[in-house]
């Protein structure tokens, strides 16, 4: 039984699985159910001046018939008055003193407004604050959410205002709708943030109904851009986490968010630098009980690897993430096909033939169809292994290079000495 407890910038929770600020954390009833189900923490649905929501809010995209590969919403922050939320936080904290409750906050970019709300929520005993500079729609039009979050100076300044009064750790939640997220992460750190969390949702439109020509979702025949999340965004989020983790100026813990559906995703985020994770879509799809396998699976993984504490995972892969220019140009892998496992769908052949390097040959041996990679032509792109439907039929094998490692950067600097 590994130790699953985390300490993220001073916020402690029994395990690294928090619910992200979103519909699942809308009320005390819900957060208490979540804690009962095993969630280690909850970032309360963003508090601020209560807004109004539209009817028809969410849409999802399926992939090959599998539901909720991605999720889209045009919902705003809480539509309930602050006092009601604070009462429920108080009550929840009383019932679950060891679970983390973080208040997500969003107000207009004015010092007094931030001071006011921070004081109010800290008064009821939250374990930390998360500043929502991320929501991509609705609020942005009022200068809040991502409208702030896309401007490093505003992120820095508002973080600073919060830190002026906050006594609990402050997490700054970043928007992914930005050219370079490390810029806002750095700004948050400059403003005094104790941690950063990412990602909020990505600007998106789920689809167009081919019968009515309405957007999906639509509100009385009209649509607006929503925020995208769920499994589909995981690689985008993971990169942003990794970029921040390897940036020396972003020297604070990271709370990873975006497409986390199971313990494996969580472990990947943690290896890439996240101290804990937050989940929204997976809980909305399946209910709170999915945390059971998240906890169990992560624990079994750690036991299996002989790792005593989940905190020991944090950041282990960060140093392996670098720039393209620092990759070894002379490292070589080639595809190898195991014809005993291969089921002869020929997908690898046609993928390589049409869209890669035309080096998988089809042939017949004693009447049996076979495939073979012409290794000398194979560039090791991985495509065949990616499209292959059976485990173990295609392996990517390292081919020792005859020349020593050299990166693009090394090469260019070497060559530049000879450019006369």
């Amino acid at each position: 039984m590994a130790d699953l407890r985390i300490d993220l910038a001073g916020i402690k929770s029994p395990n690294p699985f928090w619910l992200a600020s979103a519909p699942p954390t809308n009320s005390g009833y819900q957060v208490q159910r979540a804690f009962e189900a095993g969630w280690g923490g909850a970032v309360w649905k963003t508090l601020g001046e209560p807004i109004l929501n539209v009817s028809s809010r969410f849409a999802a995209v399926s992939f090959n018939g599998q539901r909720v590969a991605g999720f889209n919403n045009i919902e705003l922050i809480t539509d309930r008055p602050l006092e009601i939320n604070l009462n429920e936080i108080l009550e929840t904290k009383k019932r679950f003193p060891n679970h983390a409750i973080i208040a997500s906050l969003m107000v207009e970019p004015q010092q007094e407004k931030w001071h006011e709300i921070v004081k109010k929520v800290e008064a009821v005993g939250v374990d930390g604050l998360e500043l929502n500079f991320g929501c991509p729609h609705g609020m942005a039009e009022r200068g809040m959410g991502s409208a702030s979050g896309q401007v490093p100076e505003l992120v820095e300044k508002q973080t600073y205002w919060v830190k002026e009064v906050a006594r609990t750790p402050v997490i700054v939640k970043l928007t992914p709708n930005i050219t370079d997220i490390t810029m806002t992460a750095e700004a948050a750190v400059r403003g005094g943030a104790d941690a950063v969390s990412m990602i909020n949702t990505i600007n998106s439109l789920a689809g167009v109904d081919l019968d009515t020509w309405n957007t999906v979702p639509h509100v009385g025949g009209k649509g607006a851009h929503g925020g995208y999340c769920g499994p589909a965004v995981k690689p985008i989020a993971l990169n942003m986490v990794a970029e921040c983790a390897r940036n020396p100026l972003v020297n604070v813990p990271i709370s990873g968010i975006g497409g986390i559906s199971n313990w494996q995703d969580a472990a990947e985020f943690m290896l890439m630098g996240a101290t804990g994770v937050q989940v929204c879509t997976a809980a909305m799809h399946h209910g709170f009980s999915i945390v059971e396998d998240m906890i169990d699976g992560l624990n079994n993984y750690l036991d299996d690897k002989g790792i005593a504490s989940v905190m020991d995972l944090v950041g282990q892969s960060v140093q392996r993430y670098s720039n393209w220019g620092d990759l070894d140009l002379n490292y070589n892998i080639v595809a190898q096909i195991n014809n005993d496992v291969c089921i002869n769908c020929n997908k690898c052949h046609i993928a390589c033939e049409d869209t890669s390097h035309q080096c998988i040959d089809l042939y017949t041996e004693s009447g049996r169809p076979m495939l073979k990679v012409r290794e000398q032509d194979c560039v090791g792109c991985n495509l065949c292994a990616i499209v292959c439907p059976v485990d173990g039929a295609i392996s990517m094998i390292e081919k020792k290079s005859t020349i020593p490692p050299m990166t693009w950067n090394e090469r260019q600097s070497l060559i530049s000495n000879f450019t006369r």
Partner: protein, 67 residues
């Protein structure tokens, strides 16, 4: 949880004031919801509206009053 009954109640209060000759004088929104000031001659009452439904409703009444 269910806000429905509360919102019905709030809308009923709005209707009540309007029916008894009050007019919406001012509205003000902050962290705690919406504060509506009704006026009837010298009478002056303030109502705090908490629910989203009632806040939408109030805006509709406001529109009616301006038209």
């Amino acid at each position: 949880m269910s806000d429905h009954l509360l919102s019905l109640d709030e809308m009923k209060q709005v209707d009540g004031y309007l029916a008894s000759g009050f007019k919406i004088h001012s509205v003000h929104e902050n962290l705690s919801g919406m504060f509506v000031e009704f006026k009837r001659q010298e009478e002056d009452v303030c109502l705090q509206i908490l629910t989203a439904e009632a806040r939408k409703y109030l805006a509709a009444k406001l529109l009616e009053q301006t038209q």
